[in-house]
Amino acid sequence: MVTTIAARRRTLTTTALVAVVIVLALASLGTGPVRMSPLTVLDALAGGGSDVQQIIVREIRLPRAILALAIGAILGLSGAALQGLLRNPLASPSLFGAPQSAAFGAVLIIALGLADIRSYALPAAAIAMAFLSVFVLLAVAGRSAGLLLLILAGLAISSLAGAATALALNLSPNPFAALEISFWLLGSLDDRSFRHVMLALPFIIAGAIVLMSQRAAFRALSLGEETAQSLGVHVGRLRLLVIAGVALGVGGAVAVAGTIGFIGLIAPHLMRPLIGHDPARLLIPSALTGAALLLAADIAVRIIPSTTDIKVGVLTSLIGVPFFLYLILRERRALSGGVA
């Protein structure tokens, strides 16, 4: 077995990421109105400490930490998978309108009175709309779409989905419409329970399995679609599977947390200098980075002093949008050429 320096660095990076995610998860369990040290948290998790500590850690904060970890991971993974599929470093679920469309699916179900926020109809609708949005996007943009086309089509879809979500909530007899709009458009992990974990996790895991199963094909796709096909990759099937995987994961995530943007865009970029550009090798580190980012953001919204709750989706957008602008600056040549 040949172990190159690059391979050793990849292993080291992945190991370090796992450690960071564990530390952040413990910090997340310790953060809130009642602060707890990591040791107290571990003790409470294992069934020690006072009853109050146990309830706070195991029933109030654990579901929130699990969701932050799982949702961050699937967003990072989806971003890396879309970038691999489209051979394009600016691809990400939120730029393509997938979470916004998923939110609209969920809101529509609620507004029509077809389900409450505890039924599986909610993630099902979110997944269906996420699938539709990515499918429409790739159909509109065409097979070998350039950067510009994809981003414009994504902008159109996310704007439409956002407007449709606001409209559905405006028209519904819900007295808390304004509050609800902010939840679905901005995303939050406040007050999530194990019911929400059960609602989202199966779909997130299914989406992750689908995306991971295609990882080798992403590497072959580096050589272009036709060459990948000449190597035995069913490119059409791969596209459908990636859309399905992203829809399952993002739809499941949005159904319980609303739209949380930009993690899918940022995570693979943070990993490229350490892992390299191989789209297959980027998947797991991007998922870990996504998990770390969302855990950190969800800790931050709880410790930033403010009179009202800051939504975690606001924070990820505040960090994500400037990052996106920086990427546009870097990719300016490709963008103005109109080819990818």
Binding site: R87, A216, R219, A220, L221, S230, L231
Partner: protein, 260 residues
């Protein structure tokens, strides 16, 4: 048909977007051959390569070994044809060795970090045949056009498929690299492969190929040894140019000279 034929096309027709691009093309070639595909721009050369690789639909029959192309799965086709498209595109700055290792993808070697000894040997052989062993760890994006074309060629050779289909592998290369690439493909043919190369360089075709297939307007107009297929008459009819001919080291030299 030729009993030793390995790749046979019978009455091949290809339509792209409702337009007929190839009409009634038939040939039969054995292994251990170097075939040059020549013809003016838009004659259907690339289309013929893509049809042979099974990348686009065609009517008529393509036989590869004892099998009909349409009976083969995508993976079985991938194991029989090494396809080298124009341009040598690599979308990400991957290490050279990983790009070459993608040649083993159809063999099930999907992870360049965990190659079986058989796959690792094939990658090493291909890299040494194209003289790129020394920059295996560099990124393809850091290489010159000539070096990148050799990486692309190594990727196709690493597959060790019976048929190599190369679309203008010498385009935009300096003379030295053009000769290197053609010589590498010639060696592959001598070792038993059927090498089919699209080229606009009639001189290289005449010098390196065993057979030349001339396409014009989607039709096969000549197929045979270079001396026959690239006659003055044929080149005049198809390319609308006169030719200057000479001989050097017992090889034919053809230089397009003036427009007709």
């Amino acid at each position: 048909m030729n009993p030793t034929a390995f790749l046979t096309a019978r009455h091949l027709d290809v339509a792209l977007g409702g337009r007929k691009v190839l009409r009634d093309v038939s040939f039969a070639w054995p292994r251990r051959q170097f075939v040059a595909l020549v013809g003016p721009n838009g004659a259907g050369k690339t289309t013929l390569l893509r049809a042979l690789a099974g990348l686009i639909d065609s009517s008529g029959t393509i036989l590869i070994g004892d099998d009909t192309l349409t009976d083969l799965s995508l993976r079985q086709r991938a194991l029989r044809f090494g396809y080298l498209p124009q341009g040598h595109v690599v979308h990400w700055p991957l290490p050279v060795r990983d790009v070459v290792a993608l040649g083993r993808y159809p063999h099930g070697a999907t992870d360049p970090d965990r190659l079986a000894p058989r796959d690792r040997d094939a990658v090493a052989r291909a890299m040494s045949a194209t003289a790129i062993t020394e920059f295996g760890d560099r990124r393809v994006t850091e290489l010159s056009g000539g070096e990148r074309s050799r990486v692309a060629l190594a990727r196709v050779l690493a597959l060790e498929a019976p048929v190599v289909l190369a679309d203008e592998p010498t385009a935009s290369l300096d003379p030295r690299y053009q000769l290197d690439v053609m010589r590498t493909l010639r060696v592959a043919a001598d070792q038993g492969m059927l090498v089919i190369v699209v080229t606009h360089d009639l001189g290289l075709a005449a010098r390196f190929a065993d057979r030349v297939l001339v396409l014009s307007g989607g039709c096969l107009v000549a197929e045979g040894p270079p001396a026959e297929a690239l006659s003055d008459q044929m080149i005049g009819d198809v390319f609308r140019v006169t030719t200057y001919r000479a001989e050097h080291e017992r090889a034919a030299i053809i230089v397009p000279w003036a427009g007709l």
